[in-house]
């Protein structure tokens, strides 16, 4: 009995890690081109965009909210960055981050002040921001300036590692430390598991919750800068559906949708897990429709395991 409990407990905490290792072994054996330095770097580069957003989303979810507006923020930020590039390089970087910060602040303030569900608030801002972006560009793509130093932000590499991967690594490290090693992080867990109780023990819960929304929007904008810099163009439809991809990675990583429970390193594992699988399906020439179905199956499976293993 006792050992059975221990085994289950052990698996419940590390199940994603073991699944991931198993997946890597299987893919290396059965997918010829999978295990090469070039392909691994490719996976990491593709994972970095959603990865950065998913790291920030983890903090929002642990704080007890959901931010569905990140995909639209990516769209708006990319368009703003490329448009302001014609004025100056610094504005192209600063304006999207500031606007995103303001959007996150508004999402947070409305959620907290009016005590409404963050799903509805951010669903509203998802529609508003996407609409504004499309109005701003008239539905057209915005092209950047060829040869501008802006292009150097996200393309190319540091010592052989693609730049987005390096940024992803530092964002993941920064946010992991913030969430798991500081007082701020502990307070986020606290407001997520019991908002009212955390207020009574003197945590400024409202302010912290607003900050989680600001973090998520600002990192979505950062991700958008990387994308638009690499492509040197911005589509007003960029980022459509990113919110669902990011949330999927966070939940596969075992973070609870109800707040108060989760881990940022596991979100990174979730991101890498999904990206590897995705990459393998492309290498195996599987129809892209399988990508959706496998993602759905994994999402359901991990939630099921999480619910089951929590009971014991």
């Amino acid at each position: 009995m006792q050992s059975g409990y221990k085994v289950k407990k052990f698996f419940s905490s590390q199940i994603l890690l073991y699944s991931f290792i198993l997946l890597l072994i299987l893919l290396s054996v059965f997918v010829p081109a999978f295990f090469s330095a070039r392909n691994i770097l490719n996976i990491l580069r593709q994972a970095s965009t959603i990865g950065i957003i998913a790291c920030a989303m983890t903090i929002v979810l642990i704080g007890g909210s959901v931010d569905l507006s990140v995909g639209s923020v990516v769209g708006l930020s990319g368009v703003l960055a490329i448009s302001y590039l014609y004025r100056s390089l610094w504005l192209a970087i600063l304006i999207p981050l500031l606007v995103a910060g303001l959007i996150g602040f508004l999402n947070g303030i409305i959620t907290v002040k009016f005590k409404v569900d963050s799903v509805i608030v951010t669903l509203g801002s998802l529609a508003i921001i996407r609409g504004v972006t499309l109005l701003y560009t008239g539905g057209k793509m915005v092209d950047g300036i060829l040869g501008s130093p802006y292009m150097l932000i996200g393309s190319g590499d540091f010592f052989g590692i693609p730049k987005p991967v390096v940024y992803f690594f530092f964002v993941a490290l920064l946010l992991s430390l913030l969430l798991h090693k500081t007082k701020f992080g502990r307070q986020i867990f606290c407001i997520g598991s019991n908002f009212e109780a955390s207020r009574t023990v003197g945590i400024s819960a409202e302010r912290l919750k607003v900050i989680t929304f600001v973090i998520s929007a600002v990192f979505a904008a950062f991700s958008a800068i990387l994308i638009s810099s690499r492509l040197n163009t911005a589509s007003p439809l960029e980022g459509t559906g990113y919110e669902f991809d990011a949330i999927t990675a966070v939940i596969v990583g075992g973070t609870s949708l109800f707040g108060g429970r989760g881990s940022l390193p596991k979100t990174i594992l979730g991101v890498l897990f999904l990206a590897s699988l995705n990459n393998a399906m492309i290498l195996l020439n599987l129809n892209f429709s399988f990508e959706y179905m496998v993602k759905a199956f994994l999402l359901a499976l991990f939630v099921y395991l999480d619910i089951r293993l929590k009971d014991i």
Binding site: V66, I110, F114, K115, V116, D117, V119, I120, V121, L123, G124, S125, L126, A127, I128, I129, R130, G131, V132, L134, L135, G138, G139, F244, I247, T248, I251, L257, F258, N287, F288, S289, F290, E291, Y292, M293, V294, K295, A296, F297, L299, A300, V303, Y304, I307
Partner: protein, 312 residues
């Protein structure tokens, strides 16, 4: 005291007030707005989302919701087109059955496996999208017969058949919800789950059947789309989930469950339909519609929250 009562009255009827103002405004701005043809047009435009909104309202009353409605709609339309060669009976039964099955799986995940409806229906959304892409192989499928146009474009007493289906469905469901024990149980599950349990209401069966109902309604909506355009693709219904949830909440049903009704949802659907129609008539870019929809959504929940706080 007096102002509070007035505020309360205004708040209870705010959607009707908005509808009347919109009608007056649009009658001045557009000469064709109040013509018979245009009114029929408005009613037709709202049928697809209106039919799905019936199920969504019942789900939200029980504190659940369904993100997979758009993909489910695409599934039904695709299945309907593929079954056309076997005649109308097989087509109708096949499409509704396929969508209901998706609803059933949603329901089982939420009620028996204790998934949060957000994750369960998110996974279903991905799965159905993949499934539709797989069936149609990334393309758009066309129907083989235009026989179905007779229904899609036909009228009875000058009212389009699809609109009649919608009006009958929402009236019957509205009566069932407000006048029968069945309906009261649904309110009890969302408003006071402990009391619901105490009275021996089989909560799991209710939640599962509500998801099945929503699925079946997606099937009917998909059939209606098929009878009008006779094509389907995986891209169909991309924003249906957001639009339908927005309509229900704008109508005044509370996202936190237990309060609302189908008459409110009808108003919500109507407001969005009139706005969409007015913008088309006035030649305003359709992007602005999304912005306005988002603003209305946020505005309605904020006003609700302010009035609720004042009343206390």
């Amino acid at each position: 005291m007096n102002t509070n009562i007035i505020l309360k009255r205004i708040n209870e009827n705010k959607v009707i007030i908005i509808i009347i103002l919109l009608i007056i405004l649009l009658s001045f701005l557009s000469p064709v707005f109040h013509t018979y043809e245009n009114i029929v047009n408005v009613v037709f435009e709202i049928t697809v989302e209106g039919i799905i909104a019936i199920g969504m309202t019942i789900l939200i009353l029980q504190k659940n919701f369904d993100l997979s409605v758009g993909s489910n709609l695409a599934l039904a339309a695709t299945v309907a087109i593929l079954l056309q060669r076997y005649g109308p009976v097989v087509t109708i039964i096949g499409a509704i059955l396929a969508s209901s099955l998706a609803g059933l799986i949603n329901g089982i995940m939420v009620s028996y496996l204790r998934f949060n409806s957000f994750v369960a229906t998110l996974a279903m959304m991905f799965f159905l999208k993949g499934l539709v892409f797989y069936i149609v192989n990334g393309e758009t499928v066309k129907g083989i017969t235009q026989y179905y146009y007779k229904f899609g474009y036909g009228t009875l007493l000058k009212i389009p058949y699809p609109a009649i289906v919608f009006l009958v469905l929402i009236t019957v469901s509205g009566i069932l919800l407000s006048k029968t024990k069945l309906g009261r149980h649904i309110y009890a599950i969302g408003g006071n789950p402990i009391a619901a349990q105490y009275f021996g209401i089989n909560e799991k069966a209710f939640i599962t059947s509500s998801f099945v109902l929503t699925g079946a309604l997606c099937g009917i909506a998909g059939l209606i789309i098929m009878t009008r355009v006779n094509i389907a693709s995986g891209a169909l219904g991309l924003y249906t989930n957001i639009d339908v949830i927005a309509a229900v909440i704008i109508g005044g049903t509370l996202f936190s469950g237990g309060y609302g009704d189908l008459f409110k949802t009808f108003q919500g659907i109507l407001v969005l339909g009139i706005i969409a129609n007015g913008m088309t008539l006035l030649n305003i870019q359709s992007y602005l519609q999304q912005v306005i929809k988002g603003f209305l959504l946020v505005l309605v929940i904020v006003i609700d929250s302010i009035v609720t706080v004042r009343r206390k």
